[in-house]
Amino acid sequence: DAGITQSPRHKVTETGTPVTLRCHQTENHRYMYWYRQDPGHGLRLIHYSYGVKDTDKGEVSDGYSVSRSKTEDFLLTLESATSSQTSVYFCATGEWTYNEQFFGPGTRLTVL
């Protein structure tokens, strides 16, 4: 398995506060992804990165921003959290686009 860690693993926060989730990989994979998973929706892509400082929007990017200053780290920021952003967030990495992705353990975020 790819070495992918996410922090924190659980977080409860209040509406309007900023939140940053971190994904760290040890596999030197070029591609990194942030997904959210909600009942009935499967996994939906928020943002992805195809290299250091190279990022792009996914299907549900509104309200989220990302940064990748090193190959191994990909940060997801909710500038002002809302209750609709309560979800489980997964980070994933991959060597090639359109190929197998390796997933981190997930972060459960609750916005009250």
């Binding site: 929706h41 499967g42 996994l43 299907e59 997964f90 686009t97 190929n99 997930g106």
Partner: protein, 110 residues
Amino acid sequence: EDKVVQSPLSLVVHEGDTVTLNCSYEVTNFRSLLWYKQEKKAPTFLFMLTSSGIEKKSGRLSSILDKKELFSILNITATQTGDSAVYLCAVGGNNNDMRFGAGTRLTVKP
């Protein structure tokens, strides 16, 4: 708009049964279709298919892709309770991303 539709959404079977899970897609510039298994944690990779009509097989699981009719099936034979999970289908298309279906929740009863 790209979309991936899985059916059924949920399925309950007994050990020893054979199940077929479906994934249909509409994606611009199809590149690949992947199947994942998700238990109470992160999804784990099962298969990747890129060519039509070529079956991928791993033990009791197998999968095939039909690029003309835009669908794939995942078969599980002689099901076991350990096969209980959500099975996710994902399709790679025009962008550097994967579009996931909502998943099929499979429950295998003893």
